[in-house]
Structure formats: C-alpha cells, structure tokens
C-alpha cells in the first residue's frame, strides 16, 4: 500500500484527529510532566528531526543543539498541542522555525549578508565540476544541495519527511498555493542546475 492509500480520505481536520498516534500520547504525557515520555518521544522521532535540521543548517553540531531546543520546546509547550495536526508535523514546524531563527542569528553574528550561501545556493563547486565527479544519482543529490534553504526544505519535507501539501504549508507557515509555487520553482531551479552540469531533463 502506498501512502496515498493511507490518506484515502482528505486531510483530517477535526479536533484531536491525531490523538491516538503513539507520539501524540507521549506528548500528552509530557504535558502532564512525564519526563520519561520525552526520552521515548526522542527515541521515536529524533532521527528524522535531526536530518531535517542538518539539511537546513548544514552543521551537525548546531543541528544537535537546535534539535534539543525543539524537544525542550515540546516539553514546555506540550499542553498546547491539540492533535489537530500529526505530531511529527507539529514538531517539524517547531524545528523549521528554530532553524530559520538560527540562520538569521548566524547572519547577524557574521555581520555580513550570508543570504547567498543560505538562501540562494551553495556554489562551492560549480555544476560543471560536480558533474565530472559524480554519477547521475549523486549529481541530482549534489544539485539538490545547491538549492536555497527554502527550496531544499520543501523538497525534504515532501520527499523524505512525506508531508502533504497542507502539512508543508503548516510547517512553513505559508498558504498551500505558496507551497506548490515553491516546489515548482525548486524543481525548475534543479533542472537548471542539472542542465549546467550537462544533464538535460527535458523540463521545463
């Protein structure tokens, strides 16, 4: 069965729609002060959260710190979770906001405009250089890594984190139409990077 079959109904939107998920029960326990539940929630979810943050922040040590801030925020705000969204979506939303805040602070601390490195692209290797080093699959991966933070984020949320349009909109705090627009331009930019590296995808 594909995830499509799992979502054989449109998005659950009612109050406590996800309350029966094990992670939601753990969050409910955390709201009641159960510290062990934090540990169990960490065990179930930290790999995906950590990977999301590493991909956004491009620094494993900082990603660890920010991830712990996410779990601390869950500990402190668990009572606010009403299970309207999936637990992982709620946690990714916290992680996304903290990653943006961290990137902003990093820019301010550096005292220079790092927009080019964090929002536009990582051009440490040109597409031509990359194409000489890598096979096709690795090449796509390298070009995905060259996308802006917003574009990498939407791709990771959809492809790896398996979030729906509505969930990505919630995580990124943008309308659903914007999520689709962002994905369209992320894929278009990826095609351009691949073309520069000698791979013509025939689209757009």
């Amino acid at each position: 069965m594909t995830a499509t079959a799992m979502r054989d109904m449109d998005q659950p939107s009612g109050l406590s729609a996800h309350a029966d998920a094990p992670e939601a029960k753990l969050i409910a326990a955390i709201a009641g002060g159960d510290r062990q539940a934090v540990k169990h929630l960490y065990g179930l979810t930290h790999v995906r959260l950590y990977r999301y943050l590493v991909r956004q922040l491009r620094n494993e040590a900082i990603a660890e710190e920010v991830m712990n801030e996410v779990y601390l925020a869950v500990w402190q705000n668990a009572a606010r979770y009403e299970a309207r969204s999936a637990p992982m979506t709620w946690m990714l939303s916290i992680a996304h906001n903290k990653a943006i805040s961290t990137l902003r602070k990093r820019r301010e601390t550096a005292g220079v405009d790092q927009e080019a490195t964090e929002q536009i692209a990582d051009d440490s290797d040109t597409p031509e250089v990359i194409s000489q080093k890598l096979d096709k699959a690795q090449l796509i991966r390298a070009c995905v890594n060259q996308l802006s933070a917003d574009h990498r984020s939407v791709m990771d949320l959809v492809y790896y984190q398996e979030r729906s349009v509505a969930e990505v909109a919630e995580i990124m705090s943008v309308p659903e139409a914007t999520v689709k627009t962002r994905m369209f331009y992320a894929r278009k930019k990826l095609s351009e990077l691949l073309l520069a590296a000698g791979v013509d995808r025939g689209w757009p």
Binding site: T2, R7, E23, K39, H46, N68, W75, D156, T181
Partner: protein, 227 residues
C-alpha cells in the same frame, strides 16, 4: 502566513507539475490524486515527468540517509535541560509511568483478533507496496533500495525493516531492545501501526539482522524487510 513574493500564480499545467512530487511520495489526498491522474491521462508529456520526480525523491531520500545519527551524549544533554526546566516549571506532575500505561491500555484494548488483523494488514500493505514498486520504480544498477510508502529509498548503511509493536509493549522495553539491537526508529507510525527502523548491520548480514528482530516476538508482532 506569508506568500511567495514576486512570483506569478501557477498555470494549471505548472500546478500539476508542482504536485508530481506529492504524487510519487503518495501524500496527495484522494481528491488531489484524482485531479492529477486525470490530467496525466490526457497529457502524456506531463506523465513522462513523473520519472523526474521519482529521481528527485530518490536523491532527497538518499541525501538524508547519508546523515549519521546525533551523538549518543545528546540525549543526556537534553534530559539535563528538561530536568532543569522541570524545576522551574510549576505544574502538577502525575505518575511518570502514566504515558506507557496509557499507550499500553490503548493498544491493549484491542482484542487479539484485532491485533492479528493489524499484523495481517501490515503484511498485505508490504505485499501491495512491493507490487506497486515493481511497476513504478526504476532501479539503477548497483544502488540498494528499500521501499517507503510507494517509492525507493537508498540504504546508506545498515539494514532497514518494517515492524509492528506488540500490544502493551512498554517504552522502556522498546528503548532497551532498540539499544540492544543497535537499532533506531526512522519512520512511522504508518497505517496499521507500522514503523520503519534501521539496524546497524552489514548489508550481507541482513537476514541475520531481521532474524534478531523476529526473535524479539515479545516486542514486535510483525517484522519484515524494508526491501
């Protein structure tokens, strides 16, 4: 909510193109899936682009899979922070055992027949998924893949498996077993309570790793390779 600045709204063709990633990830709603599928049936040039989205998905997944786990000391640091925060937090604290008792109570409320059905459903899910993948997934030579909700996933290191937890399993028992088997949860729960986990193991030793999981029938009611 902020909108994307300076970008014109997408045309219908562009919007369908934008939705292909969700189509291959299997995360469109039924309504959205019907809309995209109808369009692709009448626009073969757009249908050909599904393979591009599949390539992108593979790249995004394999890119994530290459990221190793955080340091083992990280959890200790987190729990220290939680302890500090707890001292400052003025809340009524119920019994620490409450959560897994609640989880166990919830799962335990299923009859054995229900649990058996869930395991059977999980097995059917995997069989159906394998069949779907057989049709949809293009495999590149030399790369190792496993399925996740209808698509390929590269295996960077270790073995991946699908599991369903036994009713009543405690958080402590689960955590202990995962540590003992050098395994970690990386996805789930999916429909039927399926989790995907990774076991630190050589690829050639995959059958042995799966056998170790199956041996823990006190923890897992269903174990299947995620390949």
């Amino acid at each position: 909510m902020k909108s994307e600045p300076n970008l014109k709204p997408l045309s219908e063709a562009e919007e369908i193109e934008a939705m292909l990633p969700w189509l291959v990830a299997g995360t469109l709603t039924r309504t959205e899936t019907a809309r995209v599928t109808r369009y692709l049936e009448t626009h073969p040039e757009a249908a050909a682009h599904v393979a591009l989205a599949r390539d992108e998905r593979e790249a995004a997944i394999s890119g994530n899979e290459t990221i190793s786990a955080p340091s083992s000391a990280n959890l200790d640091r987190l729990m220290a922070s939680v302890a500090n925060s707890a001292q400052a937090r003025s809340i009524s604290v119920p019994s620490p055992a409450s959560v897994w008792e609640k989880v166990a109570s919830f799962v335990g409320s299923f009859s054995p027949k229900t649990v058996g059905f869930a395991a059977a459903a999980a097995a059917l899910v995997l069989v159906a998924q394998a069949a779907t993948i057989g049709v949809l997934v293009k495999r590149d030579a030399g790369a190792g893949y496993q399925t996740a909700s209808g698509g390929p996933v590269a295996i960077a290191d270790g073995i991946q498996a699908y599991v369903v937890l036994q009713p009543g399993v405690t958080g402590g028992a689960l955590t202990g077993t995962l540590m003992e088997l050098k395994a970690s949860m990386i996805d789930g729960p999916k429909a039927g309570g399926i989790y995907r986990l990774r076991i630190a193991s050589e690829k050639a030793d995959g059958a042995n790793a799966i056998a170790k999981l199956k041996a823990r029938s006190d923890i897992f009611s269903f174990v299947g390779p995620a390949q």
